[in-house]
């Protein structure tokens, strides 16, 4: 099973929908709410997102080696199934 990490904001509607997508599919994931982290951790998170070619918009979901910005169930599904 691929490792799934979700960078989110506790105030973000699409982050909640993203977490629910993986909960409903019984796929284990780690969720990190950016707005609950200290400034150092926030800088690390933003740097990682930008290294992946993404802006500072959430949700940012890493599935294995691939990453998805935004709520995109079709892409989540595709990456989970991809060998």
């Amino acid at each position: 099973m691929k490792k799934v990490t979700i960078y989110a904001l506790s105030t973000c509607l699409w982050c909640r929908k993203t977490k629910k997508f993986f909960e409903d599919k019984k796929v284990p994931f780690e969720a990190v709410d950016y707005d609950k982290q200290d400034e150092n951790r926030q800088s690390e998170m933003l740097a990682e997102m930008k290294r992946s070619g993404c802006s500072g918009a959430f949700p940012f979901t890493r599935i294995g080696d691939a990453c998805v910005q935004g709520y995109d169930p079709g892409e989540f599904e595709r990456l989970l199934e991809k060998k």
Partner: protein
């Protein structure tokens, strides 16, 4: 001022501004209410109604691009999605907001000319 009162005030303030940009509140009332509530909470904490779905950092100039309604700072991108990133605002002709996709900024193709961008084929 209570959250309920501040939500009404934000709705009153944002409506005309977004309207002039060709946008309206999402017809999905539950989403609109949730997002306005988040913004009222962010405003109570920071003094500014920032977008509830974008990261604020120590870069104040960058943060200003996320003050709601942040449409003018992301015009081409949002026009390509026909909605703003958090989904509070949609194009005036949108009737089914749930059918709209979030297109990552990286995935949105900037047009050569000035017209609104189109998502990549």
């Amino acid at each position: 001022m209570s959250f309920e009162a501040r939500k009404k005030a934000l709705r009153f303030l944002f409506g005309p501004a977004a309207g002039k940009l060709g946008y309206k509140f999402t017809p999905n009332e539950e989403d609109a209410d949730f997002l306005l509530e988040q913004e009222a909470a962010i405003e109570a904490e920071t003094g500014i109604p920032y977008c509830p779905c974008q990261a604020r950092s120590k870069d104040r100039a960058e943060n200003m691009r996320m003050v709601c309604p942040c449409i003018p700072f992301h015009r081409g991108h949002y026009d390509a999605m026909r909605r703003c990133w958090c989904g509070l605002f949609v194009h005036k002709d949108v009737t089914d907001p749930d059918g709209l996709r979030q297109i990552p900024e990286a995935g949105w193709r900037k047009p050569e000319g000035g017209a609104a961008g189109l998502p990549p084929r």
